[in-house]
């Protein structure tokens, strides 16, 4: 790492040192990625006359501590809160400081593990069994972990009521996302055949034959990583399924290096940043708050329009699969849904529509929205249990 040039006076004094450390902690608690190097540089900076001038201190520290747009946008508020004791309402305070933070991003959010009182468990009700085969599985005693997991894989999300089971399902959904990614990338590599010549190695080989390249060495082109874009319906009718898929989405974000996630009900929300929280429980808890408490209908057409308009250009590239998870009950106009689906279809490689209701016996896509969307869908598959999620893997792998 390149060292900063030594400055005239390195140490701005213990008081500033202390407050700077506090500032770095505050920023870290608000999601800034700040290491020791940045703090050290900041300290040096504040040791210089120019660095201490209040007008440039703020912009200096901003250039040093920010790493992304969201940091950039929040910095002024945090700066004012720490150095001028202003506007502390929306600032997340470190634990030992009296908190004045809203619950959504507050330190308490980490207790929102799925199944706790604020988690999504409230919304799961025991529904009458309408699928005989599955109930047999659910009555099996837990012989060992593997078979328990197997049983869990087949169990309809609607029937999972036990808090432990729910937690296990969520954990499994995350693991599923990871193993999916591992298998998909491996399969792709072994199939890849290079078309370009590796000139360097070919020439190496041809030295012995006096410059005649007897054996050509090819180079494989590195496959572009698969990008997965998930649009999850979190409307009222999906409330039983949404929490598991949110957990799955969290896993996908951790595993696929290129993934984007959105939630929609009456409007579309980009939730990738909120889900990029290492602690799964906290991330899911955070999203559950966004996802639940939504009455009203589902405007799939309008949500897709928002996606096409504001996000598609950025998040879709040539190896992108779109995964829409919804029951297809649309309160908007089917014509609109169809035209937005058509626009989406033109942009991306594949669209998979996962509908939890397909798993139900005698289900037929009768909903108007579902009918309008179907012609543009490459894969229409069930997603009512973990096994059905696993079954879409070949679809992704063939991309």
């Amino acid at each position: 790492m390149a060292k900063a040039r030594p400055l005239a006076s390195d140490d701005p004094g213990p008081a500033i040192r202390h407050r700077l450390a506090g500032f770095a902690t505050l920023l870290r608690h608000n999601g800034f990625a700040i290491g020791l190097a940045e703090t050290r540089d900041a300290l040096q900076l504040l040791g210089t006359a120019a660095g201490q001038a209040s007008s440039s201190a703020r912009s200096s520290l901003r250039a040093l501590f920010c790493g992304r747009r969201s940091d950039w946008d929040r910095f002024d508020e945090l700066f004012a809160a720490h150095w001028m004791q202003r506007g502390m309402k929306t600032v997340v305070r470190p634990r030992h400081v009296p908190k004045a933070a809203p619950a959504l991003f507050g330190p308490d959010a980490e207790h929102d593990a799925p199944g706790s009182e604020t988690g999504p468990a409230d919304h799961i009700e025991r529904l009458p069994d309408d699928d005989g085969a599955e109930t047999i599985e659910t009555r099996l005693p837990k012989r060992d972990q593997a078979s328990a997991a197997e049983a869990l894989g087949k169990k309809d999300f609607r029937h999972i009521v036990d808090a432990d089971e729910l937690a296990a399902t969520h954990a499994l959904a995350g693991r599923l996302a990871r193993s999916m990614r591992a298998r998909i990338t491996r399969r792709y590599r072994s199939k890849a055949r290079g078309k370009r010549l590796d000139l360097r190695r070919t020439i190496h080989r041809s030295i012995g034959t006096g410059g005649t390249p007897v054996r050509l060495i090819h180079r494989r082109r590195k496959p572009k990583p698969l990008r997965l874009v998930i649009l999850l319906d979190v409307s009222g009718s999906m409330s039983v399924y949404a929490p598991v898929f949110v957990r799955f989405m969290h896993g996908v974000l951790g595993a696929f290096r290129e993934a984007e996630t959105f939630l929609f009900h009456t409007r579309l929300m980009h939730v990738t940043p909120a889900l990029r929280e290492k602690d799964a429980g906290r991330a899911v808890g955070r999203l559950s708050l966004l996802a639940t408490g939504v009455g009203g209908g589902t405007e799939i057409g309008a949500s897709l329009a928002a996606f096409n308009r504001f996000h598609a250009r950025r998040v879709i590239h040539s190896r992108t699969a779109i995964m829409i998870i919804s029951d297809g009950y649309d309160t908007g106009e089917p014509v609109r849904l169809a035209s937005e689906m058509a626009a989406l279809r033109r942009r991306c490689r594949r669209i998979a529509w996962l509908n939890p209701m397909i798993g139900w016996r005698d289900y037929a896509p009768e909903a108007r929205g579902m009918k309008a969307a179907l012609p543009f869908v490459d894969l229409f598959a069930p997603a009512h249990n973990l096994d059905s999620l696993l079954a879409i893997e070949p679809f992704l792998a063939s991309l």
Binding site: M1, A2, K3, A4, R5, L7, A33, I34, G35, A37, E38, D41, Q44, L45, T48, A49, A50, Q52, A53, S55, S56, S59, S60, R62, A63, L64, C66, G67, R68, R69, D71, W72, D73, L199, R200, I203, H204, S206, I207, G208, G210, G211, R221, K222, K224, P225, R257, E258, T272, R314, H317
Partner: protein
Amino acid sequence: MQTATAPRDLIADQLARHGYIPDQALATALWLMDMLKRPLLLEGEAGVGKTEIGRALASLHDTKLIRLQCYEGLDQNAALYEWNYQRQLLAIKAREGAEADGVEDLIFSERYLLERPLLAAIRQVKPPVLLIDEIDRADEEFEAFLLELLSDFQVSIPELGTITATSIPRVVLTSNGTRELSDALRRRCLYHYVDFPDVDREARILAARLPGIDARLAQQIASLVNSIRKEDLRKAPGVAETLDWAAALMGVGIARLHDDPAFVHESMMCLLKTAEDKSRVTREVTDRLLGKVA
């Protein structure tokens, strides 16, 4: 404590003399960049003048601008070095029958090495400005490699050994945000979010780039472009588009925008780059926007 010649004000003045009008935050970032010897990551919409900052910085320090344009599939060979295969093959042919080891040492030597931007940048005697444009287009593997280079400023070429930097370049990276960059890279860099300039700054940019422009017209143009950016457009016009448009208006001798609203509307094609946006900005919209311009 602050004096009239605070280092960042000095940089701002100097940059302005080289045709770039920075805001205060950017001037600070550039000053820090020199002081802490860190690369500067610039993010922002296309057309806000990120690349231009690199150019202005090179001109300010009177040094070379070495630019690496990133794209999907960019690999180390294209960015760092390549061997001159034709000459290597000739050399092997010329020494047919010679000891293989000797030939190998010969053809993998400095003589047959072709510098690509990154290698060229660290082998300059006078530190150049290395502009790594649109880093978000490159793959993650490349980003990781770049991170290593930016930390150590040395590269190893398997056949040659390690090459250490002759001088440490000033590194400017730009990103349009098509892909999320790694935290590691972000942490390595200073960060500046480049926004569209406000009306005053854009008017100053016009004055700096089009020396003949009437101050009032520049103000009007900047003001109109500023309000167009607030319309619901697919592609908001960048500073380059403003400059094009101003040049067009000056070309036909317009002194005030209100003098010829019809031409103002027709010439908007300089600003609007998609058919959808063109159809959105109708004559009525133009007139409404013109109404807001003083």
